[in-house]
Symmetry: C3
Subunit: 268 residues, 3 copies
């Protein structure tokens, strides 16, 4: 058992006890499903995007998740304000640059948010992450055309230059702060037949960030938890509608001990 | 069997026959789930927030539900317009002040809507309801930090001063018009592991208001119905993803007779 | 076996291989459920409404679906822009005029979009479709008060005058380009107890349009596929919450061969 497996279980235990409030400014498509993910695993979601209340909401929250999946100008302003407020308040925050690389608006918005305040973690698929680097990348819609492994070197570079943690998720997940790099296994191919699984990964990381100081460890442990839940769900229901219901069930039923035994995290 | 049990079944029977149109202006997180709640129980949801069509929509509808869970200025204007239009047209309307007390924007918006037109019913958790009273309250995100019982006296006062029905929901629910007070039992702890269960309670009340003139009775019967559905679902699937699916199933399958036998409403 | 049955299976096979990107500008209520419908059946949804990115998104997409279920001015502008961009790029696009006839805003918006660019297909219930004809119609909320059969003649006229394909869905579905008319059987009464089933039909048509040049055939085959999935789901779970989960499962599990054998499409 690696040190990280045990840590994954311990963080989950802390989440279950503390029920941390995770503030999300996210896209319309996944608001319901990611709120349910957070509740099922034992955290407390709060969704709010009005600029007038950003500061109060960030103050209540233990962590912040910003997801650019559906954009318009007022939301972009609120995302930047939330990033800056979280940074100022010392709250961890995650950026999910959905579709970055697919359109100029999304790439620019992701970079603008990073410019406003460097996220604690950036999680995306390989295309999205590559689009944030100077060498760029291409995206086929919101689906990745790169493997996580292909993104390891640029992810390291981005992590070093931005001083953040980069998580590249796909069939296997890579997490790096530029110096330390981890690979997380788990999940199931069915995840690509359900909307918002990447967004779900992001809010789970948000909850783990609330209860673990080391963002590299928090991110890898969160992804391992989601992976274990996905595997459990797929073994029970190998079809997408039932699978997602079982993912929510698994996020609720998996104990810290079970996660400690099943998480698959290793160094690269 | 109390008089209210029988009444609960009778109102449900009327809803199933009439399929009343319930107009909701609600938050992005629960639009899908509350529409499904209304359809499953036999009512007809209509979701519309554009100011240009508020008057026509309210005319079509039998009742209106306003939920402030995600706010921005255009939506706030539409909520006020819907409240005033419903009042003018003599249609019952419910206010769900999600997160009132948590941020100034939410507290002020709830009070502004009440100021624009006094709702037929206001339903919230104890923190939200207390924030509407002169003595105020505090909210931990959108989760309540008070028990319904703690809120009985202030709820009575608010009901009397506003001339409305106040419903404070939690482990047990309290419904009062200031003179008469009822307590409703039912539901399951799993409800706090699924998003939008409070919002679901609100739209169910909206449907009951469409088919029952006495808003105190309509509200208590609606909450009893949701409670019975929650208990049935939890007995069949004690895990959150499956539980919610079973709640929708139960809202559809519970007959008026079964509700008449199982509803738990008593006077305080 | 009619020629269309076999064709339905063939188109589904092409979708599973190509995973076409379907761009949706749709209402808040069904964004999650229609994204899941597209993913389950093997297509790739992309939801985006910001005007700044419409052109790039339409370029990525194989087809476009515009659904007016929840409206506000910026969204209306984006819908018109998407219609024009799709037309210009030669991409098939579908209009779902949700609630047309119920409010002036919705009727006018549907007609304005048609005016901006004639859709490849317009799909609605009978009331919605009738509201687009010169003789008008009436809508009870978003629920139809007409049968598809009543709408056949006006649908033919609209199809001819607009030079488009009109699909009128209900207990049975009618698809016409004014010259050729088809009727599709299938589905289950439970579909009216779940939100967004009409919207789901629209995005399935969107996916079929991406892989079949003849929009009349694509539309009828798509509706037949949804009908077969609905029947399969209802036979497995005759209650609305579980039913919808099973619909998603069925969209994933039904093979092209099974669809070819079960699709029910005939000429009128």
């Amino acid at each position: 058992m690696s040190q990280y497996q045990k840590t994954a279980g311990e963080i989950l235990g802390r989440i279950r006890r503390a029920r941390p409030v995770v503030h999300s400014i996210t896209n319309y498509v996944v608001m319901n499903s990611t709120a349910n993910v957070l509740l099922a695993m034992g955290a407390s979601p709060i969704m709010a995007h009005a600029q007038e209340e950003i500061e109060e909401i960030v103050t209540i929250a233990s962590s912040v998740v910003i997801n650019i999946g559906t954009l318009s100008q007022p939301w972009i302003q609120s995302m930047k304000a939330a990033a800056q407020t979280a940074k100022k308040a010392g709250k961890p925050f995650l950026l999910d640059p959905v579709g970055a690389g697919a359109t100029k608006l999304r790439t620019r918005t992701a970079l603008d948010i990073i410019d406003a305040a460097v996220p604690t973690v950036v999680r995306g698929n390989a295309s999205e992450i590559l689009s944030l680097s100077s060498q760029g990348g291409t995206t086929r819609g919101v689906d990745s055309i790169h493997t996580p492994e292909e993104a390891l070197d640029p992810a390291r570079e981005i992590a070093l230059s931005m001083e953040t943690v980069i998580a590249v998720t796909g069939q296997r997940d890579i997490v790096t702060d530029g110096r330390r790099s981890l690979v997380v296994s788990g999940g199931d191919a069915l995840m690509s037949y359900v909307t918002g699984t990447g967004c779900a990964a992001s809010v789970i990381i948000g909850a783990f960030l609330a209860e673990e100081m080391d963002p590299l460890v928090a991110t890898a442990c969160a992804l391992a938890f989601f992976g274990v839940a996905g595997e459990k769900a797929a073994s029970e229901a190998p079809v997408p509608g039932s699978f997602w219901v079982k993912v929510l069930d698994a996020l609720y039923t998996i104990t810290p001990e079970q996660l400690g035994a099943a998480a698959r995290i290793s160094r690269i």
